[in-house]
């Protein structure tokens, strides 16, 4: 992947990139009503964040099947972000809380396969929180850069 610069969302200055040029691939599952709109707002406000996150839209964060996350990690993603409406604000009453319930279970399972906690992240991002989306992407990218590549499939085969 090409060389990129991470910009701090608050100071607007480039962040020193750590690691040895490794650029993580991150999949972002964003709900249509809050997080996706929030991510769009980050764009409209021309906030900058690294290009490592590729967004897949779902209608509700409750649609995010834990198997999607496993599949992403198996097929080479280094991290997965799931973002939905704040608790209580879900457009579909409480779909976000269903995901909030599933994620800890999934994380416990992933931990047993050696997937670090920081690689899978659940965030509540409202439609007006473009800055929060940018911050989350910055932070997540930086943390996974430090962790290095996941290579879950190779690791599993090696075992």
């Amino acid at each position: 992947m090409a060389e990129v610069t991470t910009i701090d969302a608050t100071t607007k200055k480039p962040i020193e990139v750590s690691g040895n040029g490794f650029e993580p691939k991150i999949i972002g599952f964003l709900c249509w009503w809050c997080a996706y709109t929030g991510a769009d707002l980050a764009g409209t406000a021309r906030m900058k964040y690294p290009p490592n996150v590729s967004v897949i839209r779902v209608m509700c964060s409750g649609r995010v099947d834990p198997s999607f996350i496993v599949k992403a990690l198996r097929e080479g993603a280094d991290g997965v972000l799931v973002a939905g409406c704040h608790p209580g604000d879900c457009h579909y009453i409480n779909g976000n809380m269903k995901t909030a319930g599933r994620m800890p279970l999934l994380k416990r399972m992933l931990a047993q396969f050696g997937v670090e906690d920081e690689r899978v992240r659940l965030e509540w991002i409202s439609a007006s929180e473009g800055d929060k989306f940018a911050e989350v992407v910055n932070d997540m990218t930086e943390k996974i850069r430090k962790l290095g590549p996941l290579n879950l499939s190779k690791n599993l085969e090696a075992k």
Binding site: M1, A2, V4, D40, P51, S54, H91, G95, A127
Partner: protein, 1185 residues
């Protein structure tokens, strides 16, 4: 779409993986996909290398065409898509441009126009999520390629879908009755559509109704608003729901279901004539919120003279704690208010309303109300019982004979009550009120039970009881004295005399025995029997030394009575310690004061007689306290070898009372417990004989008068329902538990929650007879309050429930419009669209402490000033200081709570202009008053606004550029300030400001400071957000769909926002938005139907195993279980398409149209994995235009 694709393994839960890459390529190559890439001017093309992306798209398998356009959303751009679909026979379309939020529908319609199903389309967002957020051009181009690859892969698995069309309900809900909501409602009603206008306040009008004049035209706010409010009230199309709040919203655009709670007004909207007769008699005074607390209103009120609807309402904040605590739920605040006003007869009326024996209670009640009194959070609780005593004494003294109100109806059924004690009399009272023929049978010669026989006269003069009994007699209750159950009549006899129900309230009249030797000596007597003999007028003699065994109130009564009969030494012998004594504190102290001795931890074990067979004393044993027993008190254990002898001439036993119900012993029908009390049904207290009920001490054991009355009243209610054939199983309830009170419910707005502003007044104590006089006479020990003390004490009541329920208004209301038993009503409405015009709240100036709001009386907010300036305000429009004099200098401080990083970053838009208006109004009313405007920037942006500013510049107003820093009531000693002070207070306020044009700090002495407070989102915006499922922007206001192009739309179709709910704005803008929102609604109504996205869930019935997991997760109950096939089925009309069931389904049977597993997973895989067209295949499309 080809049949083979439908059979793709993704139809099940099988995953597409890139081990199946060949397979994927095969499916891709079956399609002819068109990829259209937008430059968006330089928005995309400035960051992303479009040529490279186009060429990359061409290299993807299945792509038959890849091209670009400067503005894909323009007509030529859309035409390109249509042409290529037709020309090349494209089967799928990908547009790579802005966010689908912007133009998904635009491109979908273009695709449909060309004859392709609009859902065989996918968008890649390379503007908002790539070009605008990525600095590095190379990385942006790579990310765009990734997203296009994903979209191309996904679109292959799209299926043709049909949008759903549903009719639009033409009714509209408008929430909020401020100027924006009024405008919306009026426009819709003018258009012939039905509107429900919901307003949480009692009247519509919102903030505008509080304003005096409006800028810049100086129109009187009321003059332009009132006609609109009247139109709303008169419009046949508008159903006005004031004092109502939306509780729940379900459904979707065109078909919303809304639950609205109409709060109880306690005044009938139809019959109230707004004559104000009720206001004249209401004893309650609370700050008037409408006048910003600068004046007072009554509990029954209307917000303002032009209120719409122009009807009154009663402010009730839940029952007062004293009422809840009272076992018979007396309206305590009501009679306190009447005493405070000197209306004693009314006070007695209120007391009589719920209390069958008020005179007795006034003398001897144990007053739990005082325990719970809210005033104890300020200083001390009120002397409630003493105030009742004052009222009842007053009635007796002035020979006010109260006439009972006639019964509600006349009933011919007869009820017999056995026992004329507190419980029996209370039952008789209630049943007589309800119109029954009540007869009371009493074994002794006097009526009143323990109150007549057990209560010593120094606590209540004996003749007082007759006032209560006379009242009950006047209600039509017949008394038969000297009628003992079993001796003179039986239960059978009563049944034969046509009594439909019988209440046994015979109490507990048998003293418990010690079981010690010598207990049968003549000088060892039951304390109760002793009291009865005294009360019945027998000449009773006592010896010099009297011992009373026991620690309850009866023991104390016996001891104090013995003192008055001439005993020289009276000792109370109690087997536990002082801490465990059940006697009431007041009684205990009175006994102690009168010289009664106490011997704790002592128990007599034998009574000894002298040679004549008279008592000479008793052998006692000392006790020590062991482990707590079942009553929670520590069990006394005798200390070995501690026996000692006590002299005694008389011993009275007061160690407990049990029912004297021997006549039931051995009865088949009447079941008794181990105390010989009848076993009763919980909730009705019916005994084992149907139609025979028990009440009072007989059931509970010895209790208090007021508790016995509670059970008597409740059992009477059960009897009433029993006779009427209704369910009577839950009439008798436990005593209230203090934890049922949530204290905040009782906070009167007059007294803030911390009670810091309540002046302290100590509780008035009951004057008592001197000790030396007490023990020589039977005079009542408590003397009662004088009139002045009583009224002073009654005024201490906080009126914490606001309405005191004195019902004076009911008497005053001629059209009979008042109903104190009114209840909230929940309405269910069906509407097609919703407009939220819920307004704003002003910034709480108290948060910015440096300006002294709340600390200095003459620091006002702009809203306070509006009321002060308003002719309908607290001063009738006179702009005066708190002392009533005219101010000579006023400072107006701009931007309080706005443009301030500490509070709100945004500009509130209206403050500059209304500050100019205020300056003008001051100059108009007080021409020689100096006015200082302290501003950061003047923002006079609207039509005629700058002109208004210029006008003010010529009205000799001082404009100082600088934000006010602080306000003090003393001048600073800082010599650098222009106004050098001496640091002394002079009654003036001193405003410090940095004059940024002169570059100096200044201090301005003024008489009044007005804080121009900013606008914030309404206090319940958070609640509304959750009810209506809306988003709010950072500033807390509701988020519009697009800040420029869709300012009144929200992300939820069919829900619109207008006015200050969307952000701070002035009246013209609010009105414009109100009209705009109703125009948007009318567009939908006129279309007649709305299009719903087809992205609902469905369940593959061949795969479904019927585990019902989906049913448990569905937020809309849209999935039901089909019992015949044993599978779950989605009701697509109810399904909103969240897809939660799909991710929960363990078998892969639940699927979502448009968001199928295979669609999301192929997109996911394509993001992560690069793949290309087989080299031998040549591209057929892809030219620049």
């Amino acid at each position: 779409m080809s049949e083979e694709v439908k059979e793709f393994p993704g139809n099940g839960k099988r995953r597409l993986t890139f081990t199946e890459e060949e397979n994927l390529r095969q499916y891709l190559e079956k399609e002819r996909i068109g990829v259209f890439i937008c430059h968006c001017g330089t928005n995309i093309a400035g960051t992303i290398d479009i040529d490279e992306v186009v060429n990359y798209a061409k290299s993807l398998p299945g792509v038959a065409f890849a091209g670009d356009h400067k503005y894909m959303c323009s007509d030529p751009g859309q035409n390109l898509i249509k042409e290529k679909i037709k020309e090349l026979g494209l089967t799928r379309v990908v547009v790579s441009s802005c966010s689908p939020l912007m133009h998904e529908l635009t491109f979908r319609h273009a695709v449909a126009d060309a004859g392709l199903n609009e859902f065989l389309f996918q968008m890649a967002n390379i503007r908002e999520q790539v070009s605008w957020v990525t600095i590095d051009k190379r990385a942006a181009t790579e990310k765009a390629k990734r997203l296009i690859r994903a979209a191309v892969t996904r679109v292959v698995f799209h299926k043709p879908l049909e949008v759903r069309k549903v009719p639009v309900n033409p009714n509209t809900l408008v929430v909020g009755g401020g100027i924006a909501g009024i405008e919306s409602a009026l426009k819709l009603s003018e258009g012939g559509h039905k509107v429900y206008l919901v307003e949480k306040e009692p009247s519509i009008g919102g903030h505008m109704a509080k304003f005096d004049k409006t800028f810049p035209t100086l129109d009187c706010a009321a003059c332009i608003l009132t006609p609109k409010m009247v139109s709303v009230g008169r419009s046949e199309n508008i159903e006005l729901l004031t004092y109502s709040e939306v509780e729940e919203v379900s459904g979707y655009v065109g078909n919303f279901k809304v639950k609205v709670r109409k709060k109880a007004r306690y005044v009938n909207l139809e019959t109230c004539t707004a004559c104000q007769d009720c206001v004249a008699v209401c004893p309650v005074r609370v700050p008037d919120e409408f006048n910003q607390g600068m004046s007072e209103r009554t509990a029954i009120y209307r917000q303002f003279a032009q209120a719409t609807p122009n009807k009154f309402l009663i402010d009730k904040r839940g029952p007062a704690p004293c009422k809840v605590a009272c076992p018979i739920e007396q309206d305590v605040p009501g009679y306190l208010a009447m005493i405070a006003e000197g209306k004693y007869k009314e006070a007695v009326e209120i007391i009589r309303r719920a209390n069958p024996l008020p005179v007795v209670c006034a003398y001897v009640c144990y007053h739990p109300c005082e325990e719970w009194c809210e005033r104890k959070n300020v200083d001390e609780p009120l002397s409630i019982r003493e105030l009742k005593r004052f009222a009842m004494d007053w009635a007796v003294k002035n020979h006010i004979e109260m006439v009972p109100p006639p019964p509600l109806e006349r009933r011919d059924e007869k009820v017999a009550i056995v026992g004329a004690g507190a419980a029996g009399l209370a039952s008789a009272y209630v049943l007589a009120q309800k119109g029954y023929q009540v007869e009371v049978y009493e074994a002794s010669s006097v009526i009143g039970g323990m109150m007549a026989l057990g209560l010593p006269p120094y606590r209540m003069p004996r003749q007082m009881l007759k006032h209560d009994i006379n009242y009950i007699e006047k209600m039509g209750v017949k008394f038969n004295v000297n009628q003992t159950l079993d001796k003179d009549f039986t239960i059978e006899d009563l049944k034969n005399r046509d009594f439909q129900a019988i209440i046994l309230a015979v109490g507990t009249h048998r003293g418990a025995r010690l079981g010690a030797p010598g207990e049968d000596l003549p000088q060892v007597e039951q304390g109760l029997d002793f009291l009865k003999r005294v009360n019945l007028g027998e000449q009773v003699r006592v010896g010099k030394k009297v011992c009373v065994i026991g620690g309850g109130n009866t023991a104390i009564d016996v001891a104090r009575t013995a003192l008055r009969l001439g005993a020289e030494e009276v000792t109370i012998v109690y087997r536990r310690s002082k801490a465990e004594m059940p006697a009431s504190g007041e009684e205990f102290s009175a006994a102690e004061e009168e010289g009664v001795k106490f011997e704790y931890l002592t128990l007599p074990i034998e009574f000894l007689a002298d040679e004549n067979g008279s008592l000479r004393g008793m052998t006692c044993v000392r006790m020590e306290l062991g482990e707590p027993d079942e009553s929670g008190r520590r069990r006394p254990i005798p200390v070995k070898g501690s026996e000692f002898f006590m002299d005694a001439d008389n011993v009275y036993l007061a160690i407990g009372l049990v029912p004297a119900t021997d006549y039931f012993a051995g009865s088949e029908d009447m079941k008794l417990d181990k105390w010989n009390a009848p076993i009763v049904q919980t909730g009705s207290w019916e005994t084992s004989i149907p139609g025979v009920f028990a009440a009072g001490d007989l059931v509970t054991g010895p209790s208090t008068i007021v508790k016995a009355m509670r059970w008597g009243k409740q059992v009477a209610n059960a009897v009433d329902k029993f006779i009427k054939g209704l369910d009577y199983s839950s009439e008798v309830t436990d005593l209230p538990d203090p934890s049922v009170l949530r204290r905040n419910d009782f906070i009167n707005p007059k007294w803030r929650a911390d009670y810091s502003n309540v002046p302290h007044f100590r509780r008035s104590e009951m004057p008592m007879l001197a000790i030396t006089e007490r023990i020589r006479s039977w005079e009542c020990v408590e003397l009662g309050f004088s009139e002045e003390v009583a009224r002073e004490e009654a005024r201490r009541c906080l009126q914490c429930g606001v309405c005191v329920e004195c019902w004076e208004c009911v008497k005053a209301c001629q059209p009979k419009a008042i109903d104190h038993f009114d209840k909230d009503e929940v309405l269910e409405l069906e509407v097609g669209n919703i407009i939220l015009a819920t307004g704003f709240k002003t910034f709480d100036a108290g948060r910015a402490k440096q300006f002294g709001y709340g600390r200095y009386d003459n620091v006002l907010t702009s809203l306070d000033f509006e009321r002060l300036s308003h002719s309908g305000g607290p001063t009738g429009g006179r702009m005066v200081k708190s002392d009533g004099t005219l101010p000579k200098a006023i400072a107006i401080l701009h931007c309080i709570g706005s443009r301030d990083q500490h509070y709100n970053e945004y500009c509130s838009r209206v403050c500059c202009m209304y500050s100019l208006k205020m300056a003008h109004l001051i100059k108009e009313k007080i021409p020689d008053c100096e006015v200082y405007e302290l501003y950061i920037d003047m923002r006079c942006f609207g039509k005629g606004y700058e002109e208004f500013y210029n006008r003010l510049l010529h009205e000799r107003v001082h404009f100082i550029r600088g934000k006010g820093a602080e306000v003090n009531d003393y001048p600073s000693l800082d010599p650098t300030l222009r106004f050098e002070g001496n640091g002394k207070k002079s009654g003036k306020l001193f405003v410090r400001v940095e004059d940024t044009l002169l570059g100096i700090p200044r201090e301005i002495p003024v008489d009044m400071v007005i804080l121009s407070v900013g606008l914030e989102s309404s206090a319940d915006a958070g609640k509304l957000q959750q009810i209506f499922k809306l988003s709010r922007s950072k500033d807390g206001f509701f988020l519009e769909k697009h800040p420029k192009l869709a300012p009144v739309n929200t992300a939820s179709d069919g829900i619109f926002i207008a006015g200050c709910a969307q952000g701070p704005k002035d009246i013209p803008d609010s009105v414009a938005q109100g009209a705009a929102a109703s125009a948007s609604v009318m567009a939908l109504i006129n279309t007649g139907e709305v299009v719903l996205e087809p992205t609902t869930s469905h369940i593959d019935e061949e795969i479904c195993t019927g585990c019902k997991t989906c049913i448990t997760v569905c937020p809309y109950d849209a999935i039901f279980f089909e019992e015949v096939k044993k599978i779950s089925v989605v009701n697509e009309a109810l399904c909103k398409g969240c897809g939660t069931c799909v991710s929960a389904c363990p078998s892969g049977a639940a699927r979502q149209w448009g968001f199928d597993d295979i669609q999301i997973e192929s997109e996911l895989s394509a993001i992560l994995k690069e793949y290309k067209r087989e080299p031998e295949v040549t591209a057929s499309g892809g030219q620049r235009i």
